[in-house]
């Protein structure tokens, strides 16, 4: 289970501590390829900013929102991006709590993904406000019975805790960066909090990270549940469901894992981290995603069979809109992408390769975006008093402004991630080294033959 060079290789290397030199390479220089990608992302972001400034000066009329579809792309994207953030910190925390050994190279990449997607997701909800100049009203005049206010505090808490959970394991690496890049001491120095690597410091750090990992689980569960309350605490047909909370949390874990897998694949390819992010990581993640596909199926089936057997007229309007009406193409595409494709690609070892899992993850993300679209829009197009509408049902067509802002959000996430990669190693160097030392110590003694399910399972064969 060791990462990095073999024991033999290690013993012949001249400079100890430089085995992981490749992890520090992105920090050393800014190549033309990085600048080109950053420039393109910046351009996309600028288009989004221009669209938003049009919205601020003219009004939300430049979107496709209308009566009665008052919520659309911005809310969908808020939920979508915050959901992807679950693949980061929550996965990293859960893997740590269960002491899963293969997590080490993934944790920081995951936590950074959370930081980037969560901040952009939180910004998206402000973009939806008719009066963003009054955002302070939430603090000055907040009413505690409103789910939006719970959202405000839950997301803020989650953001602070996620950033903390990213920063804490970064401290030992900061100290190393301070030494490796003496000219950047002014930046890495204060952030390293005078870390010297003493056993007491290590013990304290491990303890704090353990506590944070435990705290992240209820916080994360709470955040997406509270986000679901935006829908489930109203009386609207197919929104007023007790299943919404768990459905959202499950969907978030599902999309989050898919997002994380794609990020891992990109890092492996472009930062040449083949020694750290191995095929077995993608195999294990692929299996976890397959498990979540089953959970997704269970929840989705429950939701629709409950509605169908209830036969309540206002609910059935929405149900048929999704199954047979104008939303049917999106609905069945979603089922294909969230159920059929993952099962086909991830069930067999032969297709559960890096490419296979990345393709499955990408398609799952598209399917999950469609799911959020289908949760929000059809209900709004089928109000209880349909005679109120100018046409037979409500309609919604997002405008170019909304697409531009969505593209800009995705680009902002990517750009933030790239900036992080240039400032800090994406794989936790000290944890990798620590593990390697423990492995070496174990190599000194003859190893005990291990005979458990994990060693003999064909599924887990790397």
């Amino acid at each position: 289970m060791s990462e990095g060079p073999s024991t033999q290789e290690r013993k012949t290397l001249l400079k100890p501590g430089d085995e992981d030199a490749i992890l520090f390479e992105p920090l050393q220089r800014i190549g033309w390829r990085f600048l080109a990608v950053a420039a393109i992302l910046l351009l996309i972001i600028i288009f989004g900013v221009l669209a938003y400034s049009r919205q601020v000066t003219q009004g939300l009329g430049i979107t496709g929102l209308n009566y009665p579809v008052y919520w659309g792309m911005y809310i969908i994207n808020t939920i979508f991006f915050i959901a992807i953030s679950y693949g980061g910190t929550l996965t990293s925390a859960i893997l740590r709590i269960f002491g899963v050994r293969w997590r080490t190279p993934i944790t920081r990449a995951a936590e950074v993904m959370t930081a980037c997607t969560l901040s952009v997701g939180a910004v998206n909800i402000v973009l939806d406000m008719g009066r963003p100049d009054r955002v302070l009203h939430l603090i000055l005049y907040g009413r505690y019975q409103s789910p939006i206010l719970w959202d405000f505090y839950a997301i803020s808490l989650y953001m602070v805790c996620s950033l903390l959970y990213l920063y804490l394991p970064l401290i030992p690496d900061m100290a190393e960066l301070k030494e490796r890049f003496p000219r950047r001491r002014w930046f890495y120095g204060p952030l390293s909090l005078r870390w010297t690597g003493t056993p007491q410091q290590k013990k304290r750090l491990e303890r704090i990270i353990d506590i944070m990992a435990l705290a992240m689980v209820p916080i994360a569960v709470m955040v997406h549940t509270v986000l679901s309350y935006l829908l489930s605490l109203t009386t609207q047909p197919m929104w007023h469901s007790t299943l919404m909370g768990p459905y959202f949390v499950m969907g978030a874990i599902y999309s989050g894992m898919a997002g994380l897998l794609i990020v891992m694949a990109l890092l492996r390819r472009f930062l040449h981290l083949e020694r750290y992010l191995k095929p077995k990581h993608f195999n294990y993640m692929g299996l976890m995603i397959l498990g979540m596909t089953a959970v997704w199926l269970y929840f989705t089936f429950s939701e629709y069979i409950t509605t169908y057997y209830g036969q309540e007229p206002s609910h059935m309007e929405v149900f048929y809109a999704k199954f047979l009406g104008e939303f049917a193409p999106y609905f069945w595409t979603q089922v294909g992408l969230c159920l059929v494709v993952p099962v086909l690609l991830l069930s067999w070892r032969r297709t559960r390769t890096i490419v296979g899992t990345v393709v499955a993850s990408g398609l799952i993300l598209v399917g999950m975006w469609l799911e959020r679209f289908l949760i929000i829009i059809p209900t709004l197009t089928r109000p209880r008093l349909p005679a109120d509408l100018p046409f037979t049902t409500g309609t919604y067509r997002p405008t170019s402004a909304e697409w531009a802002i969505m593209a800009a959000s995705a680009a902002a996430i990517a750009l933030l991630y790239l900036i992080f990669i240039k400032l800090f190693p994406i794989v936790p160097v000290w944890e990798i080294r620590q593990e390697r030392e423990q492995e070496d110590a174990r190599f000194e003694q003859p190893p005990e033959p291990v005979n458990d399910a994990a060693s003999s399972s064909p599924l887990l064969a790397g």
Binding site: V135, H137, G142, L230, A387, D388, G394
Partner: protein, 229 residues
């Protein structure tokens, strides 16, 4: 304290929609124009709902004028994060346009669909500008608005009564809101539901009285008198 409510007699209502038009004029509701209408952004604070049942020759058409129901248990008030909408002590569900952050949670929570959002700043043609009602604020873009039971007329009536040293009388209340005042069939009544002598109170207890979407528990204060023919 009075509890303001409304009764609409569906036997008398002809579906002429003068009420909806009067409301738009009284409350300075801006034009939508052809493009905005296509996008379904016309603001009808008051709307006459049209329900068609059956097949020819046994067709039945029902008109139900629908203002804001001013619920006693409003789902819109519960969800507002900043208190921009609230129930005042006389039962009117009020809007504070200066507080509203435009999140539209109230608009999605209302089961009756009475709330509207200002997608743009209002754009009144020159001729209409002269006819704007000075008693009603003009709403900027980004805030939600809805029927207020013509609260400005109610306040004016209260001032007048106070000046004259008397209480409000039923006769001046029955046709107080613009929709009631203009109804050519006199099908609508407004008043204090808690005053046993008032017209609305008596009619609300009629065996013909019903409410919209009563099963949702919103306790609306707009009563409808069922058609008998």
């Amino acid at each position: 304290m009075p509890r303001w409510g409304m009764v609409i007699d569906l036997d008398k209502c002809t579906g002429c929609q003068a009420c909806s038009v009067a409301c738009r004029m009284e409350n300075n509701i801006p034009f939508a124009g052809p493009e905005e209408t296509e996008l379904s952004r016309v603001k009808w604070w008051h709307k006459v709902l049209r329900f068609e049942e059956g097949e020819y020759p046994k067709v039945r058409l029902t008109f139900i004028p629908r203002p804001c129901q001013h619920c006693d248990n409003p789902p819109c008030v519960t969800v507002c994060p900043v208190g921009a909408t609230y129930v005042d002590d006389e039962g009117v569900v009020r809007m504070d346009y200066n507080r509203c952050i435009g999140c539209r949670f109230c608009a999605t929570a209302c089961p009756y669909g009475v709330r509207h959002f200002n997608w743009y700043d209002p754009d009144y043609p020159e001729e209409v500008r002269a006819a704007l009602n000075p008693d009603v604020p003009v709403r900027p873009r980004g805030v939600v608005e809805k029927c207020t039971f013509c609260i400005h007329r109610l306040e004016a009536a209260k001032h007048k009564a106070a000046e004259e040293g008397r209480e409000l009388v039923d006769a001046e209340l029955v046709n107080l809101p613009a929709c009631n005042e203009v109804c050519p069939a006199s099908a609508r009544y407004f008043g204090d539901l808690d005053d046993p002598e008032s017209t609305v109170s008596r009619l609300a207890h009629s065996p013909r009285a019903f409410k919209l979407l009563e099963e949702l528990g919103t306790v609306p204060k707009v009563f409808y008198l069922k058609e008998t023919s």
